[in-house]
């Protein structure tokens, strides 16, 4: 009971599991890099570990929903951070020139991305991390900077492989988004309102975008089918609630069936239930879609368990 309550509380702040995924990955990377530090003993280990791990966390942000894109973003991050650290560390003793060099580099980075202002947060993060590097690397010595850069590259390689060997937990994102959309669908039925329609669409968007991250093609097909069927429910309920003004008794039947599915998704187990097919005209679509939804979910469970 306590675990369930805790999980529901966390779900409120992290509805799609992104926060928990990033947090788990960060803790896992930290342990891996601590061990690497024990063996390789770089100068200023905190900074070296920080620079190599932050890129992986940036690559795990929700906007990046493709495995290849994640790898490319990490590569771009490593190149950018090495370049920025080189510029900052080699000019820090030149007082006025340092101000000029850093300002010019910041201008170049921002200007280069002027067509994509949504990436500006990334530029600020890279500049900030490089600034933090001056806590330790302000030697102004070329060989010292080069040595540090090699360590950053070495640790980045380790962080990259740690990231690659991390268990595939992206299915949690899909599952959470499906759960959230089932909750919203039931909420719409309870309140007899389509006020949550946009919220539901966004939840299904998250489910759709996380499909690329599922581990196997066969899972992906079934998961896509379930997502599409729930999307179908979205349009169906909009129609029932706004256009057809269906009686609450019939809507309750749909709600009860969706609740059964939600329980099964929550338990991540198959469920067998033969719904009482209502003869009401408005429920024809529900009578068609629901068995498909049930079959797809059971098939997905069977695939995962096989």
């Amino acid at each position: 009971m306590f675990i369930y309550k805790l999980s529901s509380w966390v779900d409120r702040y992290d509805p799609f599991w992104y926060g928990r995924l990033i947090a788990l990955k960060a803790a896992y990377l930290a342990i891996g890099l601590f061990i690497a530090n024990l063996i390789l003993q770089p100068p200023l280990p905190t900074l070296v570990m920080l620079f190599s791990a932050v890129g992986v966390l940036i690559a795990e942000l929700p906007a990046i929903n493709d495995l290849n894109k994640k790898d490319n973003i990490y590569l771009a991050y490593v190149i950018l951070i090495c370049l920025t650290i080189t510029i900052f560390s080699s000019s820090v003793y030149l007082k006025g020139w340092f101000i000029l060099a850093v300002s010019a580099w910041a201008y170049v980075l921002y200007f280069a991305l002027r067509k994509k202002p949504e990436l500006y947060a990334l530029v600020s993060a890279v500049l900030m991390l490089s600034m933090i590097s001056l806590e330790g690397y302000n030697s102004g010595n070329f060989f010292s900077i080069l040595n540090t850069l090699f360590f950053i590259l070495e640790f980045s390689l380790i962080a990259f492989w740690l990231h690659k060997f991390f268990p595939f937990l992206y299915s949690r994102i899909w599952l959470s988004s499906i759960l959230r959309s089932l909750e919203t669908l039931q909420n719409m039925l309870t309140e007899l309102s389509i006020a949550d329609s946009q919220k539901l669409f966004r939840q299904l968007q998250v489910a759709e975008s996380s499909l690329n991250l599922l581990v196997k093609q066969s899972y992906r097909q079934e998961a896509r089918l379930i997502t599409d069927l729930l999307s179908h429910y979205h349009y169906y309920l909009n129609d029932l609630l706004e256009n057809k003004l269906t009686p609450a008794r019939e809507l309750d039947l749909i709600g009860a069936d969706l609740l059964r599915l939600e329980h099964a998704v929550r338990k991540q187990s198959e469920f067998y239930y033969s719904p009482n097919l209502s003869p009401a005209l408005d429920l024809t679509t529900h009578n068609q879609i629901y068995p498909q939804l049930q079959a797809s979910w059971n098939k997905l469970c069977a695939l995962v368990n096989s």
Binding site: Y13, D14, Y18, G19, R20, I22, A23, L24, K25, A26, A27, A30, I31, F34, T46, L57, L61, P62, K95, G96, F98, I99, V102, S103, A106, Y107, Y110, F111, R114, P117, Y120, A121, S124, A125, L127, M128, M131, I132, L134, E135, I194, S197, Q198, F201, R202, L204, Q205, E208, D228, S231, H232, H234, Y235, Y236, N238, D239, E242, N243, T285
Partner: protein
Amino acid sequence: MRTREQLIHLRIIHVVAMLATALFIYQFSQWDDALWIPITVLAIIGPFSPGLSINKAQQRVLGSIAGLLLSLIFWLVIHYNYNLLVPLAVVLIYCVAYTLLQEYTFFIMLVTIMLCINFDYMNLFFNNEIFYLISRGLCVLTGVIICQFYEYCVFKSSYTNATSLVQKERLDALIVAAWQQVSSLASSGRPVVVAELNQCLTPLVNSLTGLQQLKESCQHSYSEQGETLILIEHYQEKLTSIYKWISLQGFNLLQSEPQQDISQVVELDEDSLEQKFSD
């Protein structure tokens, strides 16, 4: 009136000016932890837009103060139980990463604790530690003051009623495109699938999210943004109304025979489009 591109370029120059000022103080002051001035400025200007930066500055002050005070407790614990450092670091890293997508105050609070116990004062005596906390707090405050000074006294008039950020032409084109897509789906003579309908709605919902962020930025901004806010609300209404209309007609398109759909869906000609969504 400045175009969107001009405004972005102007903002880049302003951001660089704030950073250069912070770097100047770092290089030419004799403060112990002056490096935290440019770090603070860079953290605050992260969201780039003036309004969001102002909001972030306030959150940073709160988070830094709370983090510095809490780090004192952590210092006391670790100073006498040194072996706790590794497990505590892992737990802190977990929490920092978790708050990455949450409110900035909590994130910066945890980052401050982590940076404090990792970098600076693990082996300091209590008095030195208090000095460190004060010095670090003052540097963060200086960084925040630099940003607020520039935003309020220097850049305030530069962004007055920046209506071009709403991108009217793009949004108008988006609405028309969504309409044309729906009408072509209705008259295509083949069954419509859910993915096609979602494709019509996705740009509308994404634009609504973008407009909401812009609205928040305008609400926090020091410059006058009355006209921009009116325009944003106008487009929010427009986009919401077309979203609602398409999502209500969506089921008719998905259901039954395509030929019936055309008759069921409200007449989808250009005139009704103009009538329904005109100002």
